[in-house]
């Protein structure tokens, strides 16, 4: 099985990906979104898509691979604030600032479509339902950050790891990329540390302990969640249901 290679999003109707997740868009709206996408670009692992404190001229739609969004502190440490997966829109938080807020780094080989900031804003004004959809997606990202903050602020290392792994599992599962709790895990232990606010050394000891408890199994760059339910209970976060399906905001 091609379990760690999600199908690239190529056809125009799929192109907007998660951009219309909360609002069912008309075909006119979907093609307006697809029209924003510049030709696909491919980049290798470790490529910096956009530095911190740069000119925020573009956003990116990630169609393949993983991208970390990170913030550097004066102390020299950095926090990864989000690991982006395929379908995610990158760079939106910098939209209201004169200079980019986060650094976007490829954690795997990636494929992205650039999106012009000014054209996106023009599309907002022409297509209010697209604006509504992206607004709701932004709120969803806010909630993800709120939960990360809660876990990093209040929980010990093994809980932070459990929360991170179940979160990745859930998001990968939406595209069928984590069958049987197993998925490709390109983050190094240092990356994981930067993500959850823990030293790589301590990440190692904690992972090793979770391994010993048969919560996870690691091999190569692959991880298996052996007991997702128990990991969720350890993480201590509620399962959230999106406004979707029947509640999804219908087409006009």
């Amino acid at each position: 099985m091609d379990e760690d290679l999600p199908p690239p999003i190529d056809s125009p109707s799929d192109a907007p990906g998660r951009l219309g997740e909360f609002v069912s868009l008309s075909s006119r709206e979907r093609s307006a979104l697809a029209g924003l996408l510049e030709p696909v670009q491919h980049w290798p692992r470790h490529h910096v898509l956009r530095h911190e404190a740069a000119e925020p001229a573009h956003l990116y739609l990630l169609t393949h691979g993983w991208v970390a969004s990170s913030i550097a502190l004066a102390s020299g440490k950095q926090q990864i604030v989000k690991v982006h997966l395929p379908g995610d829109l990158l760079g939106a938080p910098s939209l209201c600032f004169t200079t980019t807020v986060d650094c976007l780094t490829a954690m795997t080989p990636i494929a992205v479509h650039a999106i012009s900031r000014s054209r996106l804003i023009a599309t907002f004004e022409a297509f209010p339902r697209i604006a509504l959809s992206l607004f709701l997606s932004a709120q969803k990202e806010r909630v993800a950050l709120m939960e990360s903050l809660a876990v990093v602020g209040q929980a010990p290392a093994h809980v932070r790891i459990a929360a991170t792994l179940t979160n990745l599992f859930d998001r990968l599962s939406e595209r069928g990329d984590a069958p049987g709790g197993m998925f490709h895990m390109p983050l190094t232990q240092r990356d994981l540390g930067d993500l959850i606010g823990i030293t790589p050394v301590h990440v190692n000891r904690t992972l090793r302990e979770m391994d010993r408890l048969h919560l996870i199994k690691r091999s190569d760059q692959t991880i298996s969640l052996l007991d997702v339910d128990r990991l969720r209970r350890i993480a201590g976060l509620p399962i959230r249901r999106y406004v979707f399906g029947s509640n999804r905001i219908a087409s006009v």
Copy 2:
């Protein structure tokens, strides 16, 4: 004492407050926003405006006082993810979920206008520029959370406190509520702890140490930042400039 009570926002043109911060709205748009506001409600300190896991039928525009948005973990601990000040829109993160994400608690006596969720969404579709404006505000909130996460994840206690105090100072200063670095500080040391992920005992020792170093001075429920520049350097976060003024997105 009335000296630290900011003037309430009452006239219809002011009512939208920060809702139009990034887009200059027409008077028609402004009155559409003002029309969303239900009559003002007043609540005492410690009142829970909206519990976690409740029905998300309303948002709130805060016009007076401080409100904490918090998330509870299974461990019994809670994280305050944001301290809202007058002009802030409360409850938006829950918009795309079937159940509310955060708990909204008054930290002072407050005044709020409820906003119907469904009417807000209808307004989005009718007024694309309002949608754009609220979208940008949501991105700004996202950045605030990203910075909180970075500080809580990577910095020791005194840095977290410096970042929190300068952030409050900056936001209060926009409305002239922190003259000379002095402002009313209704958060208890326990609240501060819940906000930055530190035990109240350790918050106390750290505040006391910062007091000794002449960085801050505390009395009553009031705090003075004696050296804002040094506090900013300790916090280690860049000063961000908003897309505003000449860059502000003009009226059609």
